[in-house]
Amino acid sequence: MTFNSIKNDMKVIGEIIILFKDTVRCLFSRPFYLGRLWEQIVHLGIESLSITIVIGVVTGLVMTLQFGYGLEKFGGTLYVPAIVSLSIMRELAPIFTSLLIAGRIGSGISAEIGAMNVTQQIDAIRALGTNPLRVLVVPRLVASMISLPLLATLSAFMGILGGLVIAYVEFNIPAGFYLNKVLSTITISDVFGAMFKCAFFGIIISILACYRGFKTREGTRGVGSSAKWVVVRASIVILISDFFLSKLLILMFD
């Protein structure tokens, strides 16, 4: 790692912070693009529902299977509902959903804005007297902050349901017992904590994707490399920040 690459990385971080600051400023002043916001909520949230449900259910199935057989050796099968539901709600659903959205939506946002950039559509937005941040970034940022927590909560719910099926079929844990254990284990702070983390990850994904879209050069090749850049960077930042957010939430609520 050379001095120049560190300098470049610092410059990128600085530009991302400035983009975020300018976007937040646009959030609290007119005009608002509610139509565009709804379009993005549909695109980011509603169109991601099916894949989120599949990931949630499969995570629940696999986790219950692994914990079930693992704990069975020590006679701890009855702890499966608590462990599965807590790990899904606090960590697995937020992380898996955010990584999925980083791949599916983050790359899409950066490719879309990048393509607009190289075909001068962003310049056209400016030349027509409008602010690209308001038109393009704010709707995507807000849609990510709304959609991602809801998708992760749904994913967690589906995971817990998936776990219920395997717990009953493989380990003869009654459904009523499973649900009672889940409800007594998961607290409202777990749900809000997960949603808070996902809202934060939503900001990370949308801001990185928009930033890279605006910086896209070199035609279609640039569009492709921007999409890759976003998925890699967003995934790394999500995973690292998850540790610190988890620590913060534990300090606050546990």
Partner: protein
């Protein structure tokens, strides 16, 4: 005629490459200037600098006597409804229909009802002979049609100045004639213009005055007649080269 745009001692560089060394000229109300020059002399950059899409290094730009080169991006937005820019390739929003493209500035900057916007869009598209293409997507249009939609979008707010970035480049003679007619209609509406082109016959048809850029400076600034009768070696070389 009253000056509506003044450029004074404009200097612009990209990294180490100096594009404009000292550019000064003005545009009068109702006038159309043809901006000529070899490729790479910064004709498009000059247009982009005028509306603040590029930051200039030195110099001053005045619109109706008000200095605009020091304005922030947000402060420039209202100016850009008065000085409009027609991009070389149209720069249409490719996810929006022709109607949505042309209606975009109206939704953004006016309080017109949807019905009034529709009428205004149709009126603008009539000028460019594309009133039957409302529901088409940009990808359904030929290059020439995209440029014409771009022109309709640029003029829909009735700007005072229209900056044309090579509107006839890459077009066949029939499409060039259509674009020429469109620009004549804009002139008839009183819209002033700066017309970047390599197409000298078209520039002579449309423009009142010709500017030629050379090595970052203005090598010629005069009427079409002066341009045609110029004995200046560079103008002669330039004309014969075309």
């Amino acid at each position: 005629m009253k000056k509506i745009l003044e450029i004074k001692n404009l200097v612009k560089s990209f990294k180490d490459k100096e594009i404009h060394k000292d550019i000064s000229f003005d545009l009068k109300a109702g006038e159309t200037i043809g901006l000529l020059g070899p490729s790479g002399t910064g004709k498009s950059v000059l247009l982009r600098s005028i509306i603040g899409l590029e930051e200039i290094d030195q110099g001053e730009i005045y619109f109706h006597g008000k200095r605009i080169d020091l304005l922030t991006e947000e402060e420039l937005y209202p100016i850009r409804t008065k000085i409009s820019y027609a991009f070389q390739n149209g720069a249409l929003f490719d996810s929006d229909t022709v109607f949505e493209n042309v209606a975009y500035p109206l939704f953004e900057h006016t309080k017109l009802s949807e019905k009034e916007i529709e009428l205004k869009v149709v009126e603008s598209l009539k000028i460019v002979n594309l009133e039957n293409s409302l529901e088409l997507m940009p990808s359904d249009l030929s290059g020439g049609m995209q440029k014409r939609v771009g022109l309709a979008r640029a003029m829909v707010l009735d700007p005072e100045i229209l900056l044309y970035d090579e509107p006839t480049a890459g077009l066949d003679p029939s499409n060039i004639e259509t674009v020429v007619e469109v620009i004549r209609k804009f002139k008839a509406k009183g819209i002033s213009g700066i017309f970047v082109t390599h197409d000298i016959p078209t520039a002579k048809k449309i423009c009142d005055r010709i500017l030629i850029l050379k090595s970052g400076k203005i090598a010629f600034n005069g009427s079409v007649e002066e341009f045609e009768n110029s004995t200046d070696t560079y103008v002669q070389t330039f004309l014969s080269g075309q």
